[in-house]
């Protein structure tokens, strides 16, 4: 068995080394990455989209439909999780559920580690600032809505771990919860329709210089919606893991 495992590792490693040896040199201008659509993005991207960050340009303009559906996929994941019976658990009925309930009771009985409590409290403001910076700078530098969503979501989950779920759940206003969870797809649809009205193409962004402010506003609204909606969904996915009924 060990011989077989060793042979398997060697074969896989050799295949990978051979594959890597066959790649074009790093930064080779004639490499396949640079000779197809990538070159077009780099040469024409700023002029065609009016966006300064080409990653944002590809994400929101060239592949706007893809990004739209990604946001919908994240929302659908939440809907699927919430549709599972255990996520909207009523008072315990079966043995599994009473076992889960007693596990929750012991969870509550275990005090939060003071080390974890201190470190999370210490880091949470920095995490929040980092998320906002990544969102705010996202249309110029690396970063943006999705990264910001992951960071805010992680912060909410960490806070939920040390302060308790009820406390963390209060970060999301109860009345607006469903709207916030659907914020990404909703705002994306609205921006797509506005783009349609302005440019005649669904999800179109006005690219001319005169529409600079409008274009920036649309992008920022979209990024904020992706960040807030994504963060709320990530946090809710975690809360739904073993939500108190």
């Amino acid at each position: 068995m060990r011989v077989f495992a060793l042979a398997l590792v060697l074969v896989v490693a050799a295949t990978m080394v051979i594959g890597i040896a066959g790649l074009p040199p790093h930064g080779d201008p004639d490499g396949p990455v640079h000779t197809h659509v990538g070159a077009r993005y780099l040469e024409q991207g700023v002029a065609e989209t009016g966006l300064r960050n080409l990653v944002t340009a590809v994400l929101l303009v060239y592949r706007g439909f893809d990004t739209f559906l990604e946001v919908v996929v994240i929302f659908t994941a939440l809907v699927a999780v919430l549709a599972l019976p255990s996520a909207t658990r009523q008072p315990p009925q079966s043995r599994d559920e009473s076992a889960a309930a007693s596990r929750r009771d012991t969870d509550d009985a275990v005090p939060v580690s003071p080390v974890v409590f201190l470190v999370v409290r210490l880091l949470a403001p920095f995490i929040a600032v980092f998320a906002l910076a990544s969102l705010y700078r996202g249309h110029v530098t690396p970063g943006g809505g999705f990264q910001s969503a992951a960071i805010i979501g992680a912060m909410m989950i960490a806070l939920g771990l040390v302060f308790g779920r009820e406390h963390a759940a209060r970060l999301v206003p109860h009345g607006a919860k469903a709207w916030l969870q659907a914020l990404g797809p909703l705002v994306f649809a609205v921006v797509a329709l506005v783009g349609w009205r302005l440019t005649g193409a669904f999800l179109g962004f006005p690219a001319d210089e005169a529409a600079h402010a409008l274009r920036e506003a649309l992008v920022v609204i979209l990024e904020v919606a992706i960040a807030v909606g994504g963060a709320v969904i990530l946090a809710q996915l975690f809360m739904a893991l073993d939500a108190p009924s």
Partner: protein, 108 residues
Amino acid sequence: MIGGALLESAAVALVVIGVAFLLAGTIGLVRFPDVYTRAHAASKCDSAGAGSVLLGLALHDGFAFGDLKLVLLAILVVVSGPTTAHALARAAMRSGRRPWPRDEGGPA
């Protein structure tokens, strides 16, 4: 120029030390017998390994404003790594996971 060479040597030494820690930590993670020893290996690997690689990179090519980010990143790694290991080990202990016995006669 002597100063530059010294700085460069320090940077390379830090990166080499960091890589050695990362290697040892990775081997430990695979080879150690239970959750506590593995958490120990993995957190050493994170803090000492990634920490000194980051500091080495900050020293590399002299100081620049961007190096401050690497130092902050090193601080973050040194703070968050041990915390994670602590939380893991604590959770394992709370859930009744016994530490690996030193010899076969020890508590199983």
